[in-house]
């Protein structure tokens, strides 16, 4: 069993969960993920690591409360336990000295891109951070990014902070930065990954995305996470989760992510609302 050390909503509907998982914390690297189950009857879901502390033996994940399992996780109180935290899974993001790197995060990806940005900085890169959200009140961890970035730039759909609009404005942002960017790394929802990659393509900047398809085991056994990258079928859990954003077949991935949209709602509608079907 894995004990909850911290659990809170950091901005509306975005939750942070810190769990005691010493074996995972010891090995964790930027860009990796864990698979969790919220209760004995629960499904297995992958969540990117946003932070860890090898000494304390803890790992931190940040997630949007959108489905049945994330709803259960969000409701966890400190001191409670969950039955599965397994990892660290997937390959770490490749950290090298690229020169100047633009780290783009949105939603839960603001959390998961932070350790990547931190490691890139430590490897001697100039790091610019671009944070994307619907509105200014959805940003978090800014002081963390301030500490390691040359600059933190914002883009909001409603224009309450920074650029107004969607990530399609990326070319403008890059132009305004006035420095050549050697690499773009994107973490966040599939739409952000796709539109960010589309927007960076004309700039000819190598763009890497952390994919987040449905997974069950997370070790290459089930193959539900397969994606087409270039001409090849890849398993996001073992070959990824990072891929060249200009090579990913986005249409297929978006379809595959929606495969269980209908079922996702069923437990909400049918569960005994006093216990939500399990004891977590």
């Amino acid at each position: 069993m894995f004990r909850v050390v911290a659990s809170r909503m950091i901005v509306p509907n975005v939750h942070l969960l810190t769990l005691e998982a010493p074996a995972v914390a010891r090995e964790a690297k930027p860009g990796q993920f864990v698979i969790l189950r919220a209760c004995e009857e629960g499904e297995r879901i992958p969540l990117s690591l946003s932070d860890w502390d090898a000494e304390m033996g803890t790992v931190t994940v940040i997630f949007l409360n959108i489905g049945f399992t994330t709803n259960q996780l969000a409701a966890l109180e400190e001191g409670k336990t969950i039955p599965t935290v397994v990892g660290p899974l997937g390959n770490a993001t490749r950290i090298e000295k690229y020169g100047t790197v633009l780290c783009l995060g949105g939603c839960y990806g603001i959390g998961s891109i932070f350790p990547i940005a931190r490691a890139l900085k430590a490897a001697g890169n100039r790091v610019f951070t671009l944070l994307e959200a619907r509105s200014a009140y959805l940003f978090y961890w800014e002081e963390r990014f301030e500490a390691i970035s040359e600059r933190v730039i914002h883009i909001t759909r409603d224009g309450t902070r920074g650029y107004r609009g969607h990530i399609d404005r990326l070319p403008e942002v890059v132009k305004d930065l006035g420095v050549p960017i050697d690499r773009i790394i994107i973490n966040g929802c599939t739409f952000l990954l796709k539109r960010g990659s589309d927007a960076s393509r004309p700039l000819g900047i190598s763009t890497w995305v952390s994919l987040n398809p449905i997974m069950i085991d997370g070790t290459g056994m089930c193959g539900v996470c397969r994606v087409t990258v270039g001409d090849a079928t890849r398993f996001a859990c073992v070959h990824g989760p990072d891929f060249d954003g200009h090579q990913v077949n986005w249409e297929e991935l978006l379809h595959r992510r929606k495969a269980y949209m209908v079922e996702e709602e069923v437990p909400f509608r049918t569960s005994r609302c006093n216990d939500h079907g399990c004891k977590a």
Binding site: V24, G87, T219, V224, V227
Partner: protein, 467 residues
Amino acid sequence: MAKTQKKTLDLVRREMPKQPPEVRRHNFQEVALGYSPELAVEEARRCLQCPKPACVSGCPVEINIPAFIDAIARRDFGQGIRILKEKNCLPAICGRVCPQEDQCEIKCVLTRKGAPVAIGRLERFLADWEAEQGEPELPPIAPPTGKKIAVVGGGPAGLTVAGDLIQLGHQVTIFEALHKMGGVLIYGIPEFRLPKAIVAREVDYLRRLGVKLVTNFVVGKTRTIDSLLEEFDAVFIGAGAGLPWFMSIPGENLNGVYSANEYLTRINLMKGFLFPNYHTPIKRHKRVAVIGGGNVAMDCARSALRLGAEVRIIYRRSRQEMPARLEEIENAEEEGVIFEYLTLPIRYHGDENGWVKEMVCVRMKLGEPDASGRRRPIPIEGSETVFPVDAVIVAIGNSPNPLIPSTTTGLEVGKRGNIVADEETGKTTKERVWAGGDVTTGAATVILAMGAGRKAARSIHQYLTSH
């Protein structure tokens, strides 16, 4: 030992009661219900007690078959189970899933008369009888040796190694990637063929013996083999063959196309058939095609059927070549699975939402025998056939996962990613590391995995007591 005596041949193989097909196709409960003591004794009495029993040579672990059958005939079931367990620590499982018709039973002299003794059913009977007697007594455990062994993978190979070594006084820890022990027995083989309570009983027995069971631990990720070797005196790798093959044909990544592993894991490990009480969804498809002709394909087909679908098995050769156990092919036929022999899918078409809606196949004919001795299927030109489907399950095989070899130094692997190990001892090319089961052979059988575990345990014990 019973004396050989002249008796009239009884050529009526006693049938094991089963749920009728029209009932069982709607539930996930076990199909075969097992012999009653009376039926078991009657069947056991058919055994001729041959002085040179051929059946024993057909069993990969050389169970003393005539002796345990004789014990049943004498109604000494306790003696029978003791004889079985000398060689096989998982008889309740092997009695259910062994391909007896290709192993022990095919060698039985009565096979020539069309009625081999039902060795597997008798094995199952004894194991079930033992379970009814309550918790089995624990065997004596040798004094502690102070040696520590790490077992990677909680399938039949790993469970066997752990059970054998703990009794010899060593400390044993099993590290399992999933959240439950059992390997394929838990995530692959369905409830209706192997009730999960039986697997749980075997795992619980190991716990009572003192084996440490660590789940949610992926060796190679959570910790490498090299790191385990710093803490443990020896490591046994029984990580199975869990990497699913696909055919690389157009449309294979459409929604509704599954690997057998995904489909079966959703149902068996995650209990998707109990959704929403269990939270992992499984679709209730209408028309399902299962590609392949092995046990895995039968299990997928019969699971999909139980979830309400019309199911077709698509197999590129003919019925004679199908590798699945005969009993399971017959069960699938009785339950109403449709078989399309000599048929090969070549592409899938999807709808506007990315869901598979059609499967295009070609028909085949059989040519000359290939390397495996089976006649090679050749496509018939102009024979394209379209099947409307809303799901396809690809069950054409698995190979070992590269995760462990790729994170371990000095571990040699073969062409198909299998870890190279000595057949007699399970020793790998790496010092203090042994391996056995599907991870060394590629997808094989439970009894072979168990047998490999036995041999490795013996070799590990020898090594530990001489070093």
